[in-house]
Symmetry: C2
Subunit: 174 residues, 2 copies
């Protein structure tokens, strides 16, 4: 893994380098980094994270749903994941699912997609495969508003961990 | 060029195919398509375009600036343009600039970037190289708010032409 940037190094990046560096912390949605880079200087890692979360929260509702729609399906799209996702999924043991578990996950994924119109998003690095298989079944009972909120909270958890991989964060309270 | 889709074919696309198909009509900002796909069915090409424009207008200001920041520099980035950009730039004769004109465009690009914090965006398919070189010099006199507005209008012109390449639009008034 590349050396982590200090927050002052983050503040000094050219905006293109900033977008390049942080464009994937929200999957397939580099607009978050492109928007937030003008909020610099950040005084800490946590204020950088807060600015990213704020941008997501300030998006119109269809923008937040668009972020979810931009995520790959956990099961169907294992082949086409970004390097970031792939590492995370492997850590959660997703690639080590049995044939039966894959079939199960695909089944619930389809139901979830049909109900909500976006894929099931969960922070795989914070959940093992049993928690993921349980989570999708539980969350299927939510309504669309609850699930949009729930999915976006997971997007933020994934984002936080990816940002911690990229930026020094010893003083973080997150 | 691939066959154009009818608006009813657009309405029937799976959301992933929709994002894949229209993710690049706003350069590097597939979130626009990802957000707007749930607004379907569209009754016409023009209402599809209107929904895309509405999403851009509803973004927080830093989101609109982020769209501009996601665009490649006209001069500096000729090498790394997306296929869509490359074709458009070639049509405007940008790649046929003389050494002196390239130097001039790079110079103004730098001034523009320094002043506004985002690159100069212009619809190359609607402007020849003299109009582009003239445009950047004139627009350098604008203030940040004017230029954000002006840049976004150009983004919409580029988007409209790209959408016309992808969707049947004989009945369009745009």
């Amino acid at each position: 893994m590349a050396t982590k940037l200090s927050i002052s190094a983050v503040n000094e990046l050219d905006y293109r380098d900033f977008i390049h560096k942080f464009g994937s912390v929200v999957e397939m949605t580099s607009l978050c980094a492109a928007a937030v880079c003008a909020k610099r200087p950040f005084w800490s890692f946590d204020s950088f994270v807060a600015a990213m979360c704020q941008f997501i929260d300030d998006l119109p509702e269809d923008g937040r749903a668009g972020i979810l729609r931009s995520h790959p399906d956990l099961a169907d799209r294992l082949e086409s994941l970004t390097p970031e996702s792939q590492r995370e999924q492997t850590q959660a043991g997703i690639t080590a699912l049995s044939m039966d578990e894959i079939k199960q996950l695909k089944h619930y994924n389809r139901l979830y997609n049909d109900k909500f119109g976006f894929p099931f998003v969960i922070c795989a690095r914070l959940n093992n495969k049993d928690a993921i298989l349980g989570g999708i079944q539980t969350r299927l009972y939510n309504n669309g508003d609850q699930e949009l909120k729930c999915g976006i909270e997971e997007v933020k958890k994934i984002m936080l961990l990816r940002m911690k991989d990229l930026v020094e964060c010893e003083d973080s309270k997150l």
